[in-house]
């Protein structure tokens, strides 16, 4: 399971970085979202992977899973939701103000209306 999780985080991050380096705003937003998914998973597994053990003290427990990363991830998810919403609105505004969806607002030859 560790190898699988590591692979998932790695692929998500790689995809996120690739998309964030694109020239259009939409792939950039998608890339940022993928990166935030990757980091949320990463934070989550920092408490180690455990199945079927309680996060709070219980008399019958044989072991515990670390509850803190779950709280951290919750915070990080909320923040990244807010940030994604903001950056989408900003990208739309940039599309309206700059006339196209390039991050620099450049006018490409092929984009220009004939």
């Amino acid at each position: 399971m560790e190898a699988l999780i590591a692979l998932v985080i790695g692929v998500l991050t790689a995809g996120g970085v690739f998309l964030a380096l694109r020239g259009q705003t939409f792939p950039v937003v998608l890339g940022l979202t993928l990166m935030s998914y990757a980091v949320n998973l990463f934070l989550f597994v920092m408490g180690r992977l455990a199945i079927g053990v309680p996060p709070v003290i219980s008399a019958a427990a044989e072991g515990y899973t670390d509850p803190l990363p779950q709280a951290l991830v919750l915070t990080a998810i909320v923040i990244s939701f807010g940030m994604t919403a903001f950056v989408i609105v900003l990208a739309l505004k940039a599309r309206a103000e700059l006339g196209n969806d390039h991050v620099d607002g450049l006018q490409h030859e092929e984009d220009r209306p004939a």
């Binding site: 940022l32 980091v39 515990y64 670390d66 620099d104």
Partner: protein, 559 residues
């Protein structure tokens, strides 16, 4: 519990509460109500002045608060405030030491003058200016006070989200473009921050900075590479916020295109990055950190020298005054981090003395550039020969003082700060580099500012122009600039006690043991000392061997 015990949290709570109150009193038209135009305007004006009053009052109240905290901290005590009375390292703590109080006071003073400039009218360009301004202060103060790494991330996000709103305040094509870059770059930075925090938590099982300092000093060889990469990732994040060399490219466009009071307030934003570098790398990666000691030594000073050089080259090559001011901010970050990078007590003290100076001087220049731009009509603040400005004498006088302060000419505090820095570099191996770069960039700053001053004020022509286009500066616009420059002068007048405080701060920072003891308590420290880095330290992780079989092995845990 005495009410004074709650003093450390007030700088965080006050802007938050006033931000919420201001949100309720928002200035836009209430939905679904139809009022006569005149009574609506009346209502709006009344609501606006109420907002301005509350916002200014809240910002003003931060000054005595910061002074009170500074006085308490000045004898070397660490005020530790455990939120919800959860003891460290399990709960989040706020810690007031000399450095935190110093930063709080700088922020509070800057905020008052930026707000004074904003309430002249630029707060009506868009909605919710005052709300965002207060939330920005909330984030800034929280970032300076917190003693918890994840909490630092949360406060970073708060101040960044508020700064996104402030940066875009008023809108416009260039502002949106610069804002988009600023937001995307900072979001990537936030992701990196979380990766670094996650790695540190995975290795040490704690997020409290004092506790991290203890745990990191006992890093085992098999975790060393992980901890080092986490530490350097954190550095990359803070360097991004501070606008250090390869990561400063977002700054000039963002600062040059936003509204003047926001740019003035942003003068402290880069210093948050510098503060975090100083805090984290003296506390967690300092001399006492064992295997990860002095992690930044090979990086910080050379990068700072390069930042200083390139920032100043940018200032020389700028085409508008606001762009020049933005590049001067980059250069000032270079000087500041150079001082922190040299790492001796004297050098850090020089940096801490230079910090408020560079904040106030840069803010004054941003505000002044706005007034100059208005007075030149359609020529704005571009470096072109333009019409003679109304009120050129006052503007020119203020520009002269601000330029002298920034270029580091005597008798102003920039000179003292740079002099202290040069003196502190005497026993550093980087001596020739520091001296040549600092002196050469000082000369370059003088040339750049002299060129802009003579272009803006002397090379004027009397072409026919619309007289209405040139707006003479008002007293309300010039007073905040003069106030900031008076603060710069105050830094010289009280240079003795202030530099004494700065070097006491540096001494305190270089002895992180006091901080750790104050946060964790002496007793608990002794109790923990033999158990450093062993599973007994983190019972939740240690008691469950199967839970610890993740990618990162904990010392002594057998899966």
């Amino acid at each position: 519990m005495n009410w004074l015990d709650h003093l450390p949290i007030l700088p965080v709570v006050l802007p938050l509460l006033s931000g919420i109150v201001l949100l309720v009193l928002r200035q836009d038209r209430p939905q679904g109500e139809r009022l006569a135009v005149s009574s609506l305007r009346d209502l709006r004006n009344r609501s606006l002045s109420l907002q301005r009053g509350i916002s200014l009052l809240a910002a003003l109240a931060l000054v005595p608060l910061a002074i009170a905290l500074l006085q308490t901290a000045s004898d070397g005590t660490h005020l530790v405030y455990a939120l919800g009375n959860w003891a460290a390292p399990y709960g989040i703590v706020l810690v007031v030491d000399r450095l935190a109080a110093w930063m709080l006071l700088t922020t509070a003073l800057l905020a008052v003058f930026a707000l004074l400039y904003a309430i002249r009218g630029s707060d009506t360009e868009g909605r919710h200016f005052h709300v965002l301004f207060q939330l920005q202060l909330f984030g800034l103060n929280g970032a300076f006070l917190t003693g918890d790494l994840f909490n630092l991330f949360v406060f970073f996000e708060i101040l960044l989200l508020a700064s996104y709103g402030l940066l875009l305040h008023g809108g416009g094509r260039k502002r949106v473009k610069a804002g988009l870059h600023f937001v995307v770059v900072n979001l990537v930075g936030s992701t990196l921050f979380l990766f670094a925090v996650g790695t540190l938590y995975g290795v040490t099982g704690t997020l409290n900075m004092a506790d991290l300092a203890v745990k990191l000093a006992a890093t085992t060889p098999d975790n060393l590479a992980l901890v080092q990469s986490a530490g350097l990732l954190l550095f990359a994040v803070f360097a991004l916020k501070a606008a250090l060399l390869p990561l400063y490219l977002w700054l000039p466009a963002a600062y040059a295109h936003t509204s003047a009071p926001v740019a003035a307030l942003f003068a402290i934003m880069t210093k948050v990055g510098a503060y975090c570098i100083l805090r984290v790398y003296t506390l967690m990666f300092g001399d006492d950190a064992g295997p990860v000691a002095n992690l930044l030594d090979p990086w910080l000073a050379p990068l700072a020298l390069a930042t200083l050089t390139l920032g100043m080259l940018g200032a020389v090559a700028s085409t508008t005054l606001r762009q020049q001011a933005a590049y001067l901010v980059v250069a000032s970050i270079g000087s500041l981090l150079l001082a922190f990078g040299l790492g001796s007590t004297d050098a850090i003290a020089a940096g801490l003395y230079y910090l408020p100076h560079s904040v106030f001087a840069a803010a004054a220049l941003f505000l002044l550039a706005d007034s100059i731009g208005r007075a030149r009509g359609e020529f704005a603040d571009r470096f072109e020969s333009g019409p003679e400005m109304p009120g050129a004498r006052v503007l020119g006088g203020l520009f002269f003082v601000a330029a002298m302060a920034i270029a580091g000419l005597p008798p102003l505090s920039g000179f003292l700060g740079k002099f202290m820095l040069l003196k502190a570099a005497l026993d550093s191996p980087l001596l020739p580099w520091v001296w040549s770069v600092v002196l050469a960039t000082g000369l370059a700053a003088m040339i750049a500012l002299a060129r802009s001053g003579s272009l803006l004020f002397y090379r004027t022509h009397n072409s026919p122009h619309e007289p209405g286009l040139l707006t003479p500066p008002t007293a309300a616009a010039l007073a905040p600039v003069a106030g900031l420059l008076l603060l710069v002068a105050g830094l010289v007048i009280w240079a003795g006690p202030l530099s004494g405080y700065a070097s006491a701060t540096a001494t305190q920072l270089l002895a992180p043991q006091q901080y750790i003891e104050a946060v964790l308590g002496t007793a608990s420290l002794e109790e923990r000392a033999p158990a450093r880095g062993t599973p007994a330290d983190s019972p939740l992780l240690g008691s469950d061997p199967s839970a610890a079989s993740g990618a990162i092995p904990l010392e002594g845990v057998t899966p």
